[in-house]
């Protein structure tokens, strides 16, 4: 199975700090996604990215969030000023021919 990788596996930060979560998607797959999952809750769509721009975003993805492909391969999610409620697992996903492949996730803990 194709592999999406994410770093770091666990990030601890103080409220108000900026964090950058990184994803290395599968090469030649064009659509990128970020999802999050608060402990004990559903997996929630955050944003999709195609052709170097956001194609869709959810109401969760407010001005504190941004995404980019800084070097044409990595895909990042930045949270500018973290809040306690941003604590969650964040998953990067990448489209295959007929489905999405998810990375292992980054556990973000905001103190």
């Amino acid at each position: 199975e194709p592999e999406v990788t994410q770093t770091p596996s666990h990030q601890v930060t103080q409220m108000g700090q900026e964090v950058i979560l990184r994803c290395v998607p599968i090469s030649n797959h064009l659509y990128f996604y970020w999802y999050r999952q608060i402990l004990g809750q559903k997996v929630e769509f955050l944003v999709s990215f195609y052709n170097n721009e956001i194609s869709e975003k959810s109401e969760i993805f407010d001005d504190q969030f941004s995404v980019e492909r800084p070097d044409g391969s990595n895909f990042t999610l930045k949270i500018r000023s973290t809040k306690l409620e941003d604590s969650a697992m964040y998953f990067c996903a990448n489209d295959g021919t007929d489905t999405q492949y998810f990375g292992p996730g980054t556990r973000l803990t905001v103190l």
């Binding site: 559903k42 997996v43 769509f45 999709s48 489905t99 998810f102 990375g103």
Partner: protein
């Protein structure tokens, strides 16, 4: 996006066959049915996808009746390692873009 309904939880024992049914009454013509598995603190993992009738792979089978308003994921001879949350999703995966909307899933517990 079609809404799906599946049981919140199920229990089984090692070696048994487990069938998880999902209802999707408003499935559209172009929609496929996809099942994912998720272990705690891991990303969802694709299990199987189908459009109609029956699909089988090395992990599971997917049964879809002619009206496509429901589907059944069948896991043969489960083991303890099959304890996970299973999600049924409906959507059109063709054309590349396919935002996934997850429900609560079915929490399967396999007992010794």
């Amino acid at each position: 996006l079609a809404k799906t309904t599946q049981p919140i939880s199920m229990d089984s024992y090692e070696g048994q066959e487990v069938n998880i049914t999902c209802s999707h009454n408003n499935i559209a013509t172009n929609d496929y049915i996809t099942w994912y598995q998720q272990f705690p603190s891991q990303g969802p993992r694709f299990i199987i996808q189908g459009y109609k009738t029956k699909v089988t792979n090395e992990v599971a089978s997917l049964f879809i009746p002619a009206d496509r308003k429901s589907s059944t994921l069948s896991l043969p001879r489960v083991s303890l390692s099959d304890t996970a949350v299973y999600y049924c999703l409906v959507g059109d995966p063709t054309g590349g873009y396919n935002k996934l909307i997850f429900g609560a899933g079915t929490r399967l517990a396999v007992h010794p």
